[in-house]
């Protein structure tokens, strides 16, 4: 065997700092977990838990099919849920367009009032859970689907605005400059250079938000804002598990179908 090469490699520098950082992160994480688990209430499984789980499982396996075609039954509730999310998404998409342009950062005039404030307003809107918004709208327009529509319409602006702004930031400035060079006015520039570039993105994000809104609309009924949530919470509180089962199946089928359709459309658009 030939002689093995003997040369030493210096230890990489800055290792101590890296180790220190890791230890620091571990200590912080450990502290967070100790705090979190110390505050947890005592976990005791009630004797009835097993029975109830079995009842729920039975209910889900043997759904209450009669509820499907009842008046104000499953089909009605699901259509209501769908209608709330369609209208809510549309309203938010229209309202979001100015927000999207407001919160986008631009090379020339980005500053506190144009980008910063817009972003802050959007995160402010995002913080309100749709359920809390729905409770407030119920006070204003009375219980029913319309309160749900308004809640989704307002809540969705927060997320859509952020996505729209990113889309506006990513546009190619070439067409805009070309139009300005030919003497187009501001509206013409907007219609022929900016809109064609942002529209596919806007529509795609709106569809994505629509998927989320269908899920959101399915629980709004829990607080009285229309949709399938109302019969669901009645069935839950009266422990009518077969009915819970059929509603659960209905929600799963509706959400999956919407996801499929919307996903297909989004693929075609972008």
């Amino acid at each position: 065997m030939s002689q093995l090469p003997t040369h030493t490699v210096d230890k990489p520098k800055g290792r101590g700092k890296k180790v220190f950082n890791r230890v620091l992160i571990l200590v912080i994480l450990a502290a967070i977990y100790v705090w979190a688990f110390a505050g947890i209430e005592e976990f005791e499984i009630k004797e009835t838990a097993g029975q109830i789980s079995k009842a729920i499982f039975d209910g889900i396996i043997h759904p209450d099919w009669a509820f499907v075609n009842e008046e104000e039954g499953l089909i009605f509730g699901l259509i209501d849920t769908l209608a709330i999310s369609i209208l809510g998404t549309f309203i938010s998409a229209i309202l979001t367009i100015p927000f999207g342009f407001w919160a986008a950062s631009r090379k020339d005039k980005s500053g506190f009032f144009v980008t910063g404030l817009g972003r802050f307003v959007l995160s402010f809107i995002r913080v309100f859970p749709e359920v809390v918004l729905a409770i407030i709208f119920i006070k204003a327009v009375g219980p029913g689907s319309f309160a749900g529509v308004l809640a989704l319409g307002l809540h969705s602006i927060g997320m859509l605005g952020k996505l729209f702004a990113e889309e506006v930031e990513a546009i190619d400035h070439g067409p805009r400059e070309a139009l300005i060079a030919t003497g187009a006015n501001r509206i013409q520039v907007l219609v022929y250079s900016v809109l064609p570039q942002v529209l596919p993105g806007f529509i795609s994000y709106t569809l994505y938000r629509f998927e989320l809104n269908v899920r959101g609309a399915s629980i709004l009924g829990i607080i009285g804002a229309g949709g399938i949530g109302a019969p669901l919470i009645f069935a839950l509180t009266s422990r009518n598990w077969p009915r819970v089962g059929v509603i659960l199946l209905g929600i799963i089928v509706l959400v999956s179908a919407i996801d499929l359709i919307s996903g297909y459309l989004r693929k075609k658009i972008v």
Binding site: F37, I56, I84, V127, R239, I251
Partner: protein
């Protein structure tokens, strides 16, 4: 130029498809408008009521802050624990779902199907079911958040894992690594940053979700929203909103900074 310019103007592409799409969307909107019994006139006629509601919220009940600190911390605890358990359960789920790790399609496709099923169930509904099983309190909230987190973390991470570099995997196979070594040295180093980033993102989502779980009795600040709105105590509602806003904004900020460092 060798070719003379063409005299004919090309026909503009047909627009029938666009008109059809617009018509379908309009019909859907009209039907939805009727179905939901929406009336924007109502909104306009009730604007005084809305305005008075907002005016009633001011000034916020600052003294109430002291009382909601504990439920607020409870909300954060629920989110921390739910996200952690969700992250732990996600690891095997990710390995089962990613088709470059698990090459057996009749395991990976059913696993993905179950994952999609989980994601269709809203977290408030999960919480309501767990409240029925375990009774009121934090525990059902934690269970609901755990399942909800698995849906998000596993889905996002397995998609990232499918996009990782094949080189290290092939190298590990070439040196004869067993499956565990193969995962530890080829997959985890590449996927860890994504995974941590998505866990942090899920934590942000969970804080928002945990804030409303109390509405169905699953612990946290949501219960206080419900009771104060029920008693029409709007200054207190405003205090709750401000507290939630502060917590969410702080956690979003910290988590965003950490995620920027990771990726």
């Amino acid at each position: 130029m060798s070719q003379p310019p063409k005299k004919t103007i090309p026909k503009p592409p047909t627009r029938i498809k666009h008109y059809l799409t617009a018509a379908i969307v309009l019909v859907l909107l009209a039907l939805s408008y009727i179905q939901t019994g929406s009336s924007f006139m109502d909104l306009i006629t009730n604007r005084d009521q809305m305005a008075s509601l907002v005016i009633d919220m001011f000034p916020p009940d600052w003294a109430y802050f002291e009382k909601i600190i504990e439920p607020m911390l409870e909300t954060i605890r629920m989110a921390v624990i739910g996200t952690t358990f969700g992250a732990i359960i996600s690891v095997p789920v990710i390995l089962l779902c990613a088709n470059n790790v698990n090459r057996i399609p009749w395991i990976s496709y059913p696993a993905r199907f179950v994952l999609n099923l989980i994601r269709t169930v809203p977290e408030l509904l999960l919480a309501a079911i767990f409240v029925a099983i375990f009774g009121l309190g934090m525990i059902p909230g934690i269970f609901a958040l755990t399942i909800f987190s698995v849906g998000i973390i596993a889905k996002l991470t397995y998609e990232s894992v499918e996009g990782i570099d094949k080189g290290p995997m092939e190298a590990m196979t070439a040196v004869g690594a067993n499956k565990v070594q193969w995962i530890t040295f080829a997959i985890i180093p590449q996927a860890a940053a994504y995974f941590v980033s998505y866990v942090l993102y899920t934590f942000e989502v969970n804080i928002r979700a945990a804030a409303i779980l109390g509405l169905v009795g699953a612990g946290g600040i949501g219960l206080y929203y419900d009771s104060n709105l029920g008693f029409l105590n709007y200054p207190r509602v405003n205090t709750l909103i401000i507290a939630t806003l502060a917590v969410v904004l702080i956690i979003d900020f910290v988590s965003n900074k950490l995620r920027e460092k990771l990726l």
